[in-house]
């Protein structure tokens, strides 16, 4: 049974990560820095619960806000570079944060035990869940409460006027600007919101694994974040969730007997999909039907 709860936890965490990239991608910006933002939430929330002995909930919020602040600062220069340059810039930024944690040492001694991040060794003993007696099921439920809140928030935003504004910028930023949309505000807001969600996801992730290190937040994680919304087709949040289930459950778990070749499979899957279904696995029609089920009305019949 624990295996399925574990699966559930991973899908929940990756859904949060994918939606953090989804918001930014709506504005036409490809951010490869999501793993970096996630690591900020993870380390900060972990340090707050372990070193400051704070409760998880405020620690998570602070972790999310810290990641959002960094994302906001990244968002401004990102306005000056577009398209492929932004990809290079965000990859470099993600790696910058990763190397930062690699060099980051902040340990205190408590009761003869050293606690806190220890550079390349990582940050061990983030034991909020076991210390408070949470079972695997409890943790799975908690992750899905957070994921559910994120899904609901992004879904609602997407349907609102704000969502249309993001999409307008993504489709044609010049036309959007001429229709009165302030590009700076919209693009930086998208980065900030994406950073907050990634940071939130990271803070949950740190407590779920209890041991984080810089290698958790490498380019593979950054690619996960961006590939979910791309595979999901960007028409709504449900495509992203389906993509997470497809990659994490089907591709990586069901095909596990093939051996320890996860990244190989993952890379090969991206290549195949981009050649044969470049606009995503889940077409707009499938996605809108699911959307119709959830919103209780028929929609997009002519999409």
């Amino acid at each position: 049974m624990d295996f399925y709860f574990g699966m559930l936890q991973i899908v929940g965490l990756h859904t949060i990560l994918g939606l953090s990239a989804y918001i930014i991608l709506l504005t036409g910006q490809v951010s490869m820095a999501q793993a970096g933002f996630m690591s900020i939430g993870a380390y900060i929330a972990g340090m707050l619960t372990v070193l400051a002995e704070m409760h998880l909930i405020p620690a998570m919020l602070i972790g999310g806000v810290a990641a959002a602040l960094v994302a906001c600062i990244v968002g401004f220069p990102a306005l000056r570079v577009k398209g492929l340059m932004l990809v290079v810039a965000t990859i470099a930024f993600g790696e910058f944060i990763r190397i930062f944690w690699f060099n980051f040492d902040y340990q205190i001694s408590r009761g003869g035990v050293k606690l806190g991040p220890e550079g390349g060794e990582g940050f061990k003993q983030i034991r909020f869940f076991p210390e408070n007696g949470w079972s695997t099921l409890d943790v799975a439920i908690f992750i899905w409460v957070v994921a559910g809140a994120v899904i609901a928030a992004v879904w609602w935003m997407d349907r609102s006027r704000a969502g249309k504004v993001l999409r307008a910028v993504g489709e044609d930023d010049l036309a959007a600007q001429s229709a009165g949309i302030n590009l700076t505000v919209v693009k930086v807001s998208a980065f900030t919101a994406g950073g907050f969600i990634a940071g939130l996801g990271g803070s949950v992730y740190a407590h779920y694994t209890t041991h984080i290190e810089h290698l958790n937040f490498d380019i593979v994680m950054a690619t996960f974040a961006i590939i979910y919304p791309i595979l999901g087709g960007l028409s709504n949040v449900f495509g992203t969730i389906l993509a997470v289930i497809f990659v994490q459950v089907f591709l990586l778990e069901v095909l596990r007997p093939l051996g320890d070749l996860r990244n190989l499979l993952f890379g090969a899957m991206i290549i195949v999909v981009m050649n044969f279904m470049p606009h995503g696995l889940f077409s707009a029609q499938v996605a809108s039907r699911i959307k119709g089920v959830f919103s209780g009305r028929k929609e997009g019949a002519n999409a």
């Binding site: 609102s160 999409r167 489709e171 036309a175 600007q177 001429s178 949309i181």
Partner: protein
């Protein structure tokens, strides 16, 4: 209402617009014509802030908008359409109008959250009004990219109106239209005027310009070579020379 003062734009060595002066008065339909490459589109892009001018001033409604960004010129009250239609193709007709409600009035009238998250009831009913005005009410849930060419042009004008501008800048709205569509456009332009909206019309289709405008400025090689009423322009020798000299299209 719109004052252009010794406006210049140089791209490298090319003087796309060269010391241009003209004034558009409140409530009129002002035509801007000239052969291809005479600087009409550059002028539109300068006025709407797509790029800043090399020299000169642009005053709108008493406000200096010379170096304002596009969304700021819209705030000031100038909305525009594009020569090669730029709609949000993967969004529905209704959504195209919804996102465009960014006038200064919209920003004041409703609080930030309701504006961003839902838009007020009033704002939504205004979208309906623009749908009616541009005869697109039955296409409201259609994706903008799937509309016919003429419908796309109408939607773009409706999108400009959704920002409740004091003035609209139309960049060749009749390009590619048939005679009947041009006549319908003519009527809609008059309807705009009747609503008190000033129109700056950049156009190639002469019958429309001569029919509908109050005054016209003629550009050639980035400079103004004539200005006056349609009948004055039709009898102007410099204009005839400019068009005959380059009558390619």
């Amino acid at each position: 209402m719109l004052e252009i003062k010794t406006l210049s734009k140089h791209f490298g060595g090319v003087r796309a617009v060269d010391e241009l002066d003209f004034t558009v008065r409140q409530g009129e339909i002002f035509g801007l014509i000239g052969p291809n490459g005479s600087g009409k589109s550059t002028t539109v892009n300068l006025v709407t802030g797509i790029f800043p001018p090399t020299a000169g001033e642009i005053i709108f409604d008493g406000r200096d908008i010379t170096t304002a960004q596009p969304h700021v010129t819209l705030d000031a009250g100038i909305a525009r359409t594009f020569q090669n239609i730029r709609l949000f193709n993967n969004m529905t007709v209704w959504e195209n109008l919804w996102v465009a409600q960014n006038s200064a009035e919209d920003k004041k009238a409703t609080n930030l959250l309701s504006r961003w998250m839902g838009g007020s009831r009033k704002a939504k009913s205004q979208v309906e009004e623009y749908l009616e005005f541009s005869a697109l009410a039955d296409k409201r849930d259609e994706l903008a990219g799937n509309l016919a060419f003429g419908e796309q042009r109408r939607l773009e004008v409706a999108r400009a109106l959704a920002a409740k501008p004091k003035m609209v800048l139309l960049d060749e709205p009749a390009a590619g239209m048939n005679r009947e569509e041009v006549r319908a456009l003519d009527e809609r332009l008059r309807a705009l005027k009747a609503r008190g909206i000033t129109v700056l019309l950049v156009e190639h289709v002469m019958e429309l310009v001569m029919e509908v405008t109050d005054r016209i400025a003629v550009l050639n090689f980035g400079q103004k070579i004539a200005e006056g009423t349609p009948s004055e322009i039709q009898n102007n020798q410099a204009v005839k020379d400019a068009y005959l000299g380059t009558s390619g299209d």
